[in-house]
């Protein structure tokens, strides 16, 4: 090993160049592989997170400038004519001393838990009255019920019935329940697929129709006709002068998945071509270097180095360079793509969207790097076996 390191140190520039090639191609691979992983992650994990089929869930994107009464009529029509339940959720923040400062909140409509249930560890879930509070009078005498994440409760010693005050909005809250550890929610829209951990989040009930939010979810009964339902929702929107776009979440996910794969497929082909080129280039560089090292190898053979030892030394050099390149690429890739769990914009929460370097990607990267080294290693082996030190003495006289 010491000899390999010594040998590497004698040819710094050559090995730095090889290493840079490996690092560049690996980082590129990691980024593309993470993007593809993210597509699969969303496609697999979003349906798993939901309590209903994605084919029963319609994402309605409403124009934010619509009249509130028009929208309320539209929702009432959906509920009565299509038996659908409409609800929304929104991320926000409260600033509470009792909860250690800024805390991310998920404000949920009463209907939205039909899409994804929240499990309670201690206390109880909201009841209907909790969704009918008046934000203007929610003071110490009329606190709003909230559910808090288990880790947040544990860290700040918050218990059921404790009061929490939002300094920014002068609003009082009372802890009604503590969520089960590992509770999850969607950090953004459902089809975005970022799954937030609610351990450090607060769940707040949204008072009904305070204002019109952009994204709504219509939870439909089982086995609805997709085309017909969308058509009917559009008709109801037109009838109530609501500008909106509606799409089944299953369709959104399918489109997103195929778009993401299609987009990344080309990049992945590019990465593969680049890696093949780098692999061939590396083999050529090693061959060229081998020719320039004939003298060194000849001397080593003459003083008694066995063919095995020479091959071991050369392989060792390739291995060390590949290992260092892999480690640097992994660190760079991780730095570029961030952590597995992305920090939430608000508060101390985190979310996962699959866009990170997983152990699987690292293993794939290592295997690919090994494959990239194969041509160089094979050629080195063949060439070394053919080496004769007799040139040192004067050739074939």
């Amino acid at each position: 090993m010491i000899e390999v390191i010594k040998s590497l140190s004698k040819k710094k520039i050559f090995y730095i160049l090889i290493m840079l090639q490996f690092i560049f191609s690996l980082v590129y691979f990691f980024v593309i592989a993470a993007a593809i992983q993210s597509a699969f992650y969303i496609n697999i994990n979003v349906p798993r997170q939901l309590d209903i089929s994605t084919e029963q869930l319609i994402h309605i994107e409403v124009d934010v400038f619509e009249e509130k009464s028009n929208f309320n009529n539209f929702v009432a029509d959906i509920e009565s004519q299509l038996n659908g339940k409409v609800g929304t959720y929104e991320s926000n923040v409260i600033n509470s001393v009792e909860l250690g400062g800024d805390v991310g909140t998920v404000e949920i409509d009463s209907n939205i838990v039909l899409m994804k249930e929240l499990e309670i560890e201690q206390g109880t879930y909201f009841d209907d009255c909790d969704f009918k509070y008046n934000i203007m009078i929610s003071d110490e005498d009329n606190p709003v019920s909230i559910l808090i994440g288990s880790e947040l409760a544990k860290e700040y010693g918050v218990e059921i019935g404790d009061e929490v005050y939002d300094l920014d909005n002068s609003q009082s809250f009372i802890v009604k329940g503590i969520l089960k550890p590992g509770s999850k929610w969607f950090a953004d829209t459902v089809d975005e697929g970022s799954i937030a951990d609610l351990g450090y989040e607060v769940i707040v009930p949204r008072s009904e129709s305070d204002y019109i939010h952009v994204h709504y979810y219509c939870i439909m009964p089982e086995q609805v006709d997709i085309d017909d339902t969308i058509k009917q929702i559009k008709q109801l929107a037109e009838k109530n002068s609501v500008t909106m776009e509606a799409e089944f979440v299953s369709d959104e996910l399918a489109v997103k998945f195929s778009d993401s794969l299609e987009e990344n497929k080309n990049w992945m082909i590019f990465v593969v071509v680049m890696m093949i080129m780098i692999s061939v280039g590396t083999a050529s560089l090693f061959m060229a270097q081998m020719n320039s090292r004939k003298h060194e190898i000849g001397i080593k053979v003459a003083v008694g180095y066995s063919c095995k030892k020479i091959i071991k030394m050369l392989f060792g050099e390739v291995l060390v360079v590949a290992t260092v390149a892999f480690s640097i690429a992994a660190i760079l890739g991780k730095a570029m793509l961030g952590q597995v769990e992305q920090p939430s914009i608000w508060g101390q929460g985190t979310y996962v969207d699959g866009y990170y370097i997983s152990a699987d990607i690292l293993i794939m990267g290592a295997v690919i790097l090994m494959i990239m080294c194969v041509p160089a290693v094979v050629l080195l082996g063949v060439k070394t076996k053919r080496l004769q030190p007799r040139e040192l003495i004067g050739g074939n006289e």
């Binding site: 001397i299 003459a302 008694g304 030190p389 007799r390 040192l392 003495i393 004067g394 006289e397």
Partner: protein
């Protein structure tokens, strides 16, 4: 007992019309402690003979016995072991690694042996002192004179305590005075019991040896 014995050795390079017979029917017996010189004009086959004697090449025909054992069936790695343990080389252009320090050049053959770093260091220091190059350990070969480089090469040759030292034109790249000093040094090493074989075309150098082979057109005359 003969340390090296060549029986009817021949060496042919190439095939068909390109076939060249570099050595023909060579019979040599070299005893332990001998000092031989191999002389001959350029292209006569002396380097081929040295390659065969140094186990860097195998004869096309005949038999090569080293310490009484035929090397014919030795594998490449077994030949490497013989080179590392029993035979050392001193080359015309020193064959030192310019990226390595003098010290690292000297201990190069010991890297094939299971030895601790301190043992290697002690051995290298001993031979560097013997050869008067103890102050050059950290220098690179390019930073020292030709005579000093050849002493480094001899230290490297001696460090494995070989039975035979093969020197290919060892004074070829040195001035006359340094060359004479070097031959004196080889003679002293020979007196200490090492078998030495020197390839040269210089009559004066050849005279230092006690036995001589003259080679011409691949045919050896003793």
């Amino acid at each position: 007992m003969a340390i090296i014995e060549l029986r009817n050795v021949g060496k042919t390079y190439g095939k068909g019309e390109c076939e060249t017979e570099a050595l023909k029917n060579v019979n040599i017996k070299i005893d332990e402690g001998d000092f031989w010189s191999i002389m001959g004009p350029s292209g006569s086959g002396k380097s081929t003979l040295l390659n065969i004697l140094g186990c860097m090449d195998k004869p096309s025909e005949g038999e090569y016995l080293f310490n009484g054992k035929s090397i014919e069936k030795y594998s490449v790695d077994e030949l490497s072991y013989v080179r590392n343990t029993h035979i050392s080389f001193v080359f015309q252009h020193f064959a030192l690694l310019n990226d390595y320090s003098v010290f690292d050049n000297i201990i190069l053959p010991l890297n094939c042996k299971k030895m601790t770093s301190s043992d290697k260091k002690n051995k290298a220091e001993y031979y560097m002192k013997q050869l008067g190059i103890e102050s050059l350990g950290k220098k690179k070969p390019s930073q020292i004179s030709g005579g000093q480089q050849q002493r480094v090469a001899i230290a490297r040759a001696l460090i494995t305590e070989p039975d035979v030292i093969l020197a290919d034109e060892p004074t070829g790249a040195l001035d006359q005075k340094t060359g004479e000093e070097l031959m004196k040094l080889l003679k002293e090493i020979n007196i200490q019991g090492k078998t030495i074989i020197v390839v040269t075309h210089d009559e004066k150098i050849a005279n230092v040896a006690s036995k001589r082979i003259y080679i011409e057109d691949g045919i050896c005359h003793i």
